[in-house]
């Protein structure tokens, strides 16, 4: 959060147009889909895994939706069914990773290629237009400027509760924090992982559909690995650990906000897309150093008088990072 504020103030002072409706819409539209896959990535990363396939699910899902609408499904139902169908990709990820013991980095990369190849096959690598009858519903699902970020933010709040206040969330942290310990405590660790992979794929599917409505086209070159990596970057800036056990939805939301501000701000400054990549990369590293440093500070600070406080040190650290 601190970083998001600093970046905001920096651009607000240096670029006059940064504080404007158009610019905020820009940030919100940028953030929306990344926040949605970010939720899935945080779930998977907190339980100690990674999902590279979610970007390819993003590519595939609008084609599946198109297929179901063509088959006579009403748009809303087609969206729901596509999301459910895509959760099966997560099931595959989860089963191969947990039962066959293949590292999820490899599993999901391979599954991602399969999904992408399938997408290119069924689409003949051609863009297609959205079915005309879906336009009305589409306004609620991405076409309207603020709809995507609203979906994203509501989902963040829901999944925040899931992660912090339910058994599922507690077990997700346990599995990522101490896999053997969680198993010894009788937690069904494979089930937790598979479930989180499935939620991740479903969220990837939803993000892909929202993006298709936003761009008013179903595009086989959308999504892919680049969005996964941006999603991971945002989650990590927001305090999610690559090693599992630690991560917050709210932090991830702010992580995406930082990336959105950077993108929008440099855009308005007129910096070329090529230079922007350099700056984005450098910025991520700088933020991560600040984060690491801040959480170390909290770590040593927790020794002094935390007993009266209700909140745990980690939660406080996470809040500071937000």
């Amino acid at each position: 959060m601190l970083i998001a504020v600093i970046v905001f103030v920096y651009f607000a002072l240096t670029v006059p147009e940064f504080v404007s409706h158009g610019s905020f819409v820009n940030i919100a539209e940028y953030m929306g889909p990344y926040v949605i896959i970010g939720i899935g990535l945080v779930l998977v990363m907190v339980c100690g895994e990674i999902d590279l396939s979610v970007g390819f699910v993003w590519t595939l899902s609008p084609f599946i939706m198109h297929f179901f609408i063509d088959s006579g499904f009403p748009t809303l139902l087609a969206i729901v069914v596509s999301v459910l169908v895509c959760s099966l990709i997560g099931l595959l990820n989860g089963v191969v990773t947990t039962i066959f013991g293949v590292p999820s980095l490899i599993t999901t990369l391979a599954v991602g290629y399969v999904v992408f190849g399938y997408t290119l096959t069924i689409s003949h690598a051609q863009q297609i237009n959205l079915p005309a009858q879906s336009v009305g519903v589409g306004r609620w699902f991405g076409a309207e400027a603020w709809s995507e970020i609203i979906w994203a933010s509501v989902l963040v709040l829901l999944f925040h509760v899931l992660l912090r206040r339910t058994r599922w969330g507690l077990y997700t942290v346990s599995v990522g924090g101490n896999l053997l310990g969680a198993r010894e405590a009788g937690i069904k660790v494979n089930g937790i992982k598979i479930g989180n992979f499935m939620m991740c794929s479903s969220l990837g599917a939803l993000a892909g559909i929202l993006e298709a409505f936003k761009n008013d086209i179903i595009d086989p070159s959308a999504g892919q690995l680049a969005v996964v990596l941006t999603g991971i970057a945002g989650a990590v800036i927001g305090g999610t650990a690559m090693l599992g056990g630690v991560g917050t939805m709210i932090g991830m939301w702010f992580g995406m906000l930082v990336l959105g501000e950077l993108q929008d701000g440099f855009n308005l400054k007129g910096i070329s897309a090529y230079t922007y990549l350099i700056i984005e990369g450098a910025a991520i590293i700088v933020f991560m150093i600040i984060n690491t440093y801040l959480s170390k500070l909290r770590g040593s600070g927790r020794l002094v008088g935390t007993s009266s406080s209700r909140s745990t040190p980690r939660r406080k650290a996470a809040r500071a990072i937000d």
């Binding site: 509760v161 206040r165 339910t166 058994r167 507690l170 077990y171 942290v173 346990s174 990522g176 924090g177 101490n178 053997l180 310990g181 969680a182 010894e184 405590a185 009788g186 937690i187 056990g245 630690v246 927790r302 935390t306 007993s307 406080s309 209700r310 909140s311 745990t312 040190p313 980690r314």
Partner: protein
């Protein structure tokens, strides 16, 4: 078994809460346990000693349902039982504190104490209730070294972590508690604290099997001692009938014998 001469073994009583009978465990070609029989009297603390690799941890894992025996049977409270999971064994009243404690560093003390039996007002966890109950449980066991049950386990010392793990089992109404090397890597003060805790557990009528290497500490807290050597139980005596020297000699003798055999084979 020819090695089981009567004088080396105590006699079963009618009041044994747990009997493990003729348990064997093989992993492929490797045999970890050979026809092990062990009994636990109601309310006693049984020390299970033996060198590394003797099969102590395997035996514990079988009793607590984490692994299944290749053959043999278990009798709990006079009834034959088989456990296919830790959850089943726990439901029957057998709980275990592993060497690695099975604590989750990233969770608070109270979440750890309730792990996998959290009270829920669907769909939300009842954190407030857990916090109160955990505090009560720790207070009642005289565990006062914690600043707060809100602390993350990562911030606790080794002794504190062990205490939380033991308290968690006691608190879950277990009748038989298995402690896998609770004294490993403990300082003097922390070790004393854990021994106190074991006595507390015993006072509550819980029967305990404790694995340990420090025979002095074992005799300080245990009622009876079993020695596991090469996958067999070779020695079973009440603590009052034995001494640190005798236990040490037993283990050293095993080592000597193995050494001599190796030398004989070499020559």
């Amino acid at each position: 078994m020819s090695t089981q001469s009567a004088e080396q073994f105590t006699q079963p009583t009618d009041d044994d809460i747990l009997r493990v009978e003729h348990i064997s465990k093989r992993y492929g070609a490797v045999t970890a346990l050979v026809d092990v029989s062990l009994r636990l009297e109601r309310g006693e603390v049984l020390g299970l000693i033996g060198d590394n690799g003797a099969g102590k941890s395997t035996l514990i894992k079988i009793i607590c349902g984490f692994q299944q025996a290749t053959s043999g049977r278990m009798v709990l409270n006079g009834e034959e039982v088989t456990f296919s999971s830790v959850t089943q064994a726990r439901a029957a009243g057998i709980d275990v504190v592993y060497q690695d404690l099975a604590l989750i560093n990233q969770l608070t003390v109270y979440h750890n104490m309730f792990l996998n039996r959290e009270p829920v007002r669907w769909p939300l966890l009842r954190n407030k209730l857990m916090r109160q109950e955990a505090q009560k449980a720790l207070d009642s066991m005289g565990i006062k070294t914690l600043k707060s049950v809100d602390q993350e386990v990562a911030s606790l010392s080794g002794g504190q972590r062990q205490a939380i793990a033991v308290a968690r089992s006691v608190f879950s109404d277990s009748k038989v508690l298995l402690l896998d090397e609770p004294l490993a890597a403990m300082g003097v003060k922390e070790g004393a604290m854990i021994l106190d805790l074991v006595r507390q557990v015993k006072q509550r009528g819980i029967s305990v099997i404790i694995i340990a290497h420090n025979y002095g500490q074992v005799l300080e807290v245990c009622d009876r001692v079993n020695l596991l050597q090469g996958g067999r139980i070779t020695y079973d005596k009440y603590a009052k009938d034995t001494s640190v020297e005798e236990l040490t000699n037993m283990v050293v003798a095993e080592y000597r014998k193995a050494l001599e055999e190796r030398q004989r084979a070499a020559s």
